[in-house]
């Protein structure tokens, strides 16, 4: 698993790749929370287009980031779920908690609105 952050105009993009599970979730969570801290009130877009699988610990990291973002008045948007990760979101009902967009561009458009 690899995770990187990119600042792009009015939004911060966190791009993850690979499998987010018990082993890799701590690094994913750390990067996410750093992005939340540094983004201030900017929107955060999590680009999931290269994530193969996310387990419960990875989902929890997203939830913590969402709560911190919302408490600061910001937005956290999920973009480009792969079919497998979309299934995981649906099974865990995280699709009812997060705002998910088909593409990063669509999420960025929402972030700037």
């Amino acid at each position: 698993m690899d995770v990187r952050t990119e600042h792009l105009g009015a939004a911060t993009i966190v791009r993850a790749t690979g499998r987010i599970d018990q082993t890799t979730a701590p690094a994913f969570q750390e990067e996410l929370l750093n992005a939340v801290t540094l983004s201030k009130d900017q929107a955060i877009v999590v680009d999931m287009s290269s994530v193969d699988f996310v387990s419960s610990v990875g989902l929890r990291a997203l939830m913590i980031a969402l709560k911190q973002t919302q408490s600061g008045g910001g937005k956290l948007l999920i973009a480009a779920l792969t079919p497998t990760v979309r299934e995981v979101f649906e099974i865990s009902r995280f699709d009812t908690v997060f705002r998910c967009f088909a593409t990063v561009d669509a999420a960025l458009a929402e972030a700037q609105s």
Binding site: Q22, F53, S55, S56, V57, L59, R60, M63, T84, E87, V88, E90, I91, S92, R93, F94, T96, V97
Partner: protein, 321 residues
């Protein structure tokens, strides 16, 4: 060993409404589409093979009660929810009221939905029966006497004729009951709850309900994976979705199907049984969760690990291990 589910529902018993029955009948008739059946066998085949499971069946609505058959003449039960009433009637029908029996009960905890069946347990009113209630809580009898005293119930606990004994149990100190070895583990739930591992002849059944598993506590996960290790059957509290357990219903003391799959994978358990179903869910909703859990097991299965069997508990279900 064999596990029989007498009550699979969490928090509160539920009953099927007339409208739900009519919906099931309508759905079955639509599927039959005017077909006629020459005999019962054809009809049974149609019901079993052609009707969707939640149309032809129901998960049921009794609160927690599971029988563990160890092969002994003594009975072993987990929890005394409303499912106990039907177990009690079946036991009386089997033996008759005049033949005393020994009932060994393992209590997960003393919240109402887990003890509410006891005032309706016929064996407790009959002299000669022995009822041994194993619990890791400091004073479980208090909950029983409170629920069975005025003004909550007309028959006071003190007048019950059976020989009722409360036996203190501790995690880490196994007991031998009805030919099985039983261990307990403390679980995260308001007021504490306890899971049990029943072992006999190399087989193991876990009863673990009303237990919240937090994703930020790998030490606790490892502890439970050890407790579940290579179990043949894990009866697991899957009342909420994972999203609920980390948001609105965090710290409400229940777990999810996703957590169940992941813990069973860690433990290399053989069979996960979804249990303590949310009372607000109908048969279709519970069946959808069941199918989704099978899919999540496929997605989450570690490389090289054999498949984990997934089932969803229903009242009357019997599982041999």
């Amino acid at each position: 060993m064999k596990a029989t589910i007498w009550g699979c529902r969490g928090s509160l018993p539920v009953a099927m409404s007339a409208a739900t029955v009519r919906d099931k009948v309508k759905s079955a008739l639509r599927t039959a589409n005017g077909r006629s059946f020459r005999n019962d066998a054809e009809l049974e085949r149609f019901i079993t093979e052609e009707l969707p499971w939640p149309v032809a069946n129901s998960y049921g609505g009794n609160s927690s009660c599971v029988q563990i058959d160890t092969g002994s003449e003594e009975y072993v039960l987990c929890d005394l929810g409303s499912g106990l009433r039907e177990f009690g009637a079946a036991a009386i029908a089997r033996h008759g009221p005049g033949k005393p029996q020994i009932y060994n009960i393992f209590l997960s905890h003393i919240h109402w939905d887990h003890i509410m069946g006891f005032p309706f347990f016929p064996a407790s009113y009959i002299p000669g029966n022995k009822i041994r209630i194993y619990s890791c809580h400091p004073d479980p009898k208090l909950a029983f006497t409170r629920q069975q005293s005025a003004p909550c119930f007309p028959v006071d606990f003190s007048v019950l004729a059976a020989d009722i004994e409360f036996i203190a149990m501790q995690p880490g100190k196994p007991v031998q009951v009805a030919g099985a070895t039983v261990r307990a583990i403390k679980q995260y739930h308001e007021g504490d709850s306890f899971g049990y591992r029943f072992e006999k002849d190399g087989k193991a059944i876990i009863y673990s309900t009303d237990s919240e598993h937090k994703q930020d506590n790998p030490e606790a996960a490892a502890l439970f994976a050890d407790f579940f290790r290579r179990a043949d059957l894990v009866i697991f509290d899957a009342q909420y979705s994972l999203a609920e357990t980390v948001s609105l219903k965090e710290d409400w003391g229940h777990s999810s199907n996703v957590a169940g799959v992941e813990l069973c994978h860690m433990a290399q358990a053989k069979h996960l049984l979804l249990y303590h179903h949310e009372p607000a869910f109908n048969d279709e909703a519970l069946h959808r969760i069941f199918l989704e859990t099978i899919r999540y097991e496929q997605l989450a299965r570690p490389d090289g690990q054999p498949p984990l069997k997934v089932s969803s508990a229903f009242d009357g279900m019997e599982l041999n291990v």
